[in-house]
Point group: C2
Chain length 505, copies 2
């Protein structure tokens, strides 16, 4: 049928058809399948005379995501009998999923033949019905189905972080450190979901992060390192586009999906050795060290089975990494740190994680890789590699931190009493950053001038705020007013309200 | 906002708003809540200039179900923070639901604050996470929340069937038999979901079945019996309107919901004594006697806890009850049976189930209630009570079976060999009835002239078909061609194709 792009915006996948055309919906789900070239989607159907007979109306979002334009020939079908549903149910009956079961379910999802309700049932099974190691391995392999791939003639190294900690700009240091040593590290990163800035958001302040797989295959062997946005590529499409959609509204996050999601994308991009940064602490994905250890063991084992050497590093995450939070501010701090003038926490974490990759590469014995990394930073090789990568990705030849623009509206939050800072609350810091405009407003963010363990005096600036919209300052303050972003030791018992110990200037 | 009824048809709940009006969607679910008088719904939002600023466009289906008309003032809100989700998750964590938990979840659903995805999670928990007897009791009570109620000054008797068997018109006999003995039995019935005819569909051939609770409270004490459509009343709304919607596409049917659904509606209609007809056999809800026994024990116990005396009767359901299948044909057979000229299976089942109610009422000792019932039929009292009820519900004064109209297009399926009928397949019979037009086309259906155990000769008519559309005859034959509706004993081994032993005349 002839596509008509409609002037309507919706976050649901739906089409509009003329009531005189044959109704393609099945009675069970009331949905239909549309196909255009290789893309297939299960959609709701609205019937209205607003679309002429023989045409099919699509909202622009759906048309874009399928590559449909005005006049394209889009086919409409009744939904095929769902082959996944009985397989999904197996797991609830106490049976295990075979390799073929999982492959069939994932492929059925890719074919646009599985309803959100069925996907929810699948995701719930993964969350609560105890997937075995074998099943997680099957899932990892199944996620690579229909994935775009990036191929290199040599092993790819990678650093990956299991999200959650604000200020974690270490990938901007690790990639040039590792690349400067000659290892190949074309890193794909994500944008922020709940954090103030993802690696892709931060690096985009300095350079382009959108590249095709051909471009990556072309550039990376020369620079040895890249920092690109993975969302641009079609990696593990069922995980990225489909399962994520049903997980989020129910706050589901099954371990097996975390593992399969990460490792399948690494498989598709040729990764053979990976260090996994696993921040542990309140307000991160891993609340306790034990949880993180269990997940690490699973990662290592599944990695081994699919041919990726994984080493997990449990990292300190009680408070933000470094001082800067927000895309432009973090980019600045990364460059300053490469110049040797940044915060110790950022440098140390970058050096340790890079060192693990050097050990995997056989360049150093266990525990000695960090020395190579430290030397690469100290010698300035990491900084010049960083500039080389930025330039190869369309940025400046020589990044100057003071030229990175930040928001013109600023505010300060000061201590209203003396005391030691005993806690910095990641959740409050994230909330303030979001209020300031992160991650969309790249120039927004905050600097945490004082961190845990430091003694502060009444009037000392603890947090400095930046944004491009004046009204955002008030909103950030409101967040801090609901619950203070820090705790001053020795004062907890005397406080009446959490909002009593700071003010905005 | 001002309601505009749009010329569009959809089975999804959605509204259309002008892009210039404030976006009420929350980022998690992309949904908004609309309110009109006491009704609340969670809806998808489409933004399009087709609706003027300050207005809200509704499809007619949604407008009707909420009682909204053009120009009504409908309020739009952001979805409240879902209070149910953490409670639903509790069950997956191995905890049990308290009375308050279940009450909160069910009320949150009624308030239009629970997404289909969350409801799916709730229903899956009930299906697979082993609800305790306590939890099922809580669910039964919670389903009565916000339910319409029908009140009488005396105990109500009831007969209920757990669906699934074609030709089960016994309620049309049981209600007048029980009412003729002076007990109060204002029976609410459902329409067919998958079966050829629900009690409400069948009785509607003869009389009106749509009554308000006030009308039922008024008529029933006089006639002692009624046969009304329960769907017209707002009984256990969360179960009827909401949970059913998510159960069906996944073919979920948790025992706890079956029990809570039935007993909550009985509570709301004042039932104190109930006989539960539980058909057992292939192609019905209860495949084995053991399953039916387990469910029966639960029904009796939950009934006891909520104040309803329940007795379950496991009934023979290997083949249809009686000969007639389809609304008008079943109505005919019911009347003929009350006249003393109907099939033994229909009469016997009606008498036995009525007898159980007489025993519950203390009118007979255990096992002797059927004698009272048989006498009421034999004396003609059941028939005259039946005519009285039909007339009170707006039907004829004296129902004549031959005047009940049936489809003018008929066909016959005959045996192509000699043999004993060893099986009649309910599923095939249902499929043929659906193809003929049941339950919407009330004059359609079939008569099963020969049943299990009977000897048939080549050329004998086994099934006679009726419909109002000639093309439906072919479709019914196609169903029979895929798999024959009966098995002839002794011939199974020689057959090459299942479709070989009948033909249409």
């Amino acid at each position: 049928m002839k596509a008509v792009i409609l002037d309507l915006e919706t976050r649901s996948e739906l089409i509009v058809m003329n009531p005189e055309d044959e109704d393609p919906r099945d009675s069970q789900t009331n949905m239909a399948q549309i196909r255009f070239e290789t893309k297939r989607r299960l959609v709701q159907v609205i019937r209205s005379p607003m679309v002429p007979k023989g045409s099919i109306g699509l909202p622009p979002s759906l048309a874009n995501s399928m590559g449909v334009s005005e006049g394209s020939n889009v086919a409409v079908f009744a939904r095929r009998k769902p082959i996944s549903l009985p397989l999904i149910k197996k797991k609830y009956m106490g049976k295990t999923w075979t390799h073929d079961d999982i492959r069939t379910i994932v492929d059925d999802m890719y074919q646009g033949n599985v309803t959100d309700q069925e996907m929810t049932m699948f995701t719930l099974a993964m969350q609560y019905e105890n997937l075995s190691i074998d099943e997680t391995e099957h899932l990892t392999k199944a996620f690579t189905l229909n994935s775009e791939t990036i191929e290199f003639s040599e092993p790819v190294y990678d650093k990956h972080s299991i999200g959650g900690i604000p200020g974690n700009k270490v990938s901007l240091l690790i990639v040039p450190i590792v690349a400067a040593a000659g290892l190949l590290i074309p890193k794909t990163s994500s944008r922020a979901i709940t954090s103030p800035s993802g690696t892709a958001d931060t690096f985009e302040v300095l350079a382009n992060v959108k590249f095709t797989s051909d471009e990556i295959q072309d550039i990376a062997p020369k620079t040895r390192g890249m920092l690109v946005w993975g969302g641009q590529l079609n990696l593990a499409p069922v995980d990225s586009e489909i399962i994520t959609r049903v997980e989020r509204p129910l706050s589901l996050d099954p371990e097996s999906v975390i593992i399969a999601s990460i490792l399948s994308k690494k498989l598709a991009t040729g990764v053979k050795h990976m260090v996994l940064d696993m921040p542990v602490g309140p307000g991160t994905k891993m609340a306790t060290r034990e949880e993180a250890q269990n997940l690490s063991r699973l990662f290592v084992e599944i990695g081994r089975r699919v041919g990726i050497q994984v080493e997990c590093a449990l990292t300190y995450a009680d408070q933000p990494v470094g001082h800067a939070i927000g895309p432009a501010l973090e980019a600045r701090e990364a460059v300053v740190t490469l110049m040797g003038k940044g915060p110790r926490s950022v440098l140390e974490k970058s050096i340790e994680l890079s060192g693990i990759l050097f050990e995997m590469a056989g360049m150093a014995s266990r525990g000695k890789g960090n020395e190579i990394a430290a030397e690469i930073v100290k010698s300035g090789k990491a900084l010049s590699k960083f500039n080389e990568i930025v330039h190869a990705q369309g940025g400046a030849k020589n990044v100057k931190p003071e030229e990175i623009e930040i928001g013109q509206y600023t505010g300060k939050i000061v201590a209203t009493d003396d005391g030691y800072i005993s806690r910095i609350f990641n959740t409050q810091i994230k909330g303030m950053a979001a209020a300031l405009g992160c991650p969309q407003d790249k120039k927004s963010g905050l600097i945490l001038h004082r961190k845990q363990g430091e003694f502060v005096k009444k009037g000392d600036v603890i947090i400095e705020l930046f944004t491009t919209r004046e009204s955002a300052l008030d909103r950030a303050l409101q967040v801090a007013n609901v619950k203070a972003p820090w705790l001053l030791e020795g004062m907890v018992l005397e406080r009446i309200s959490d909002s009593g110990n700071f003010e905005i200037q």
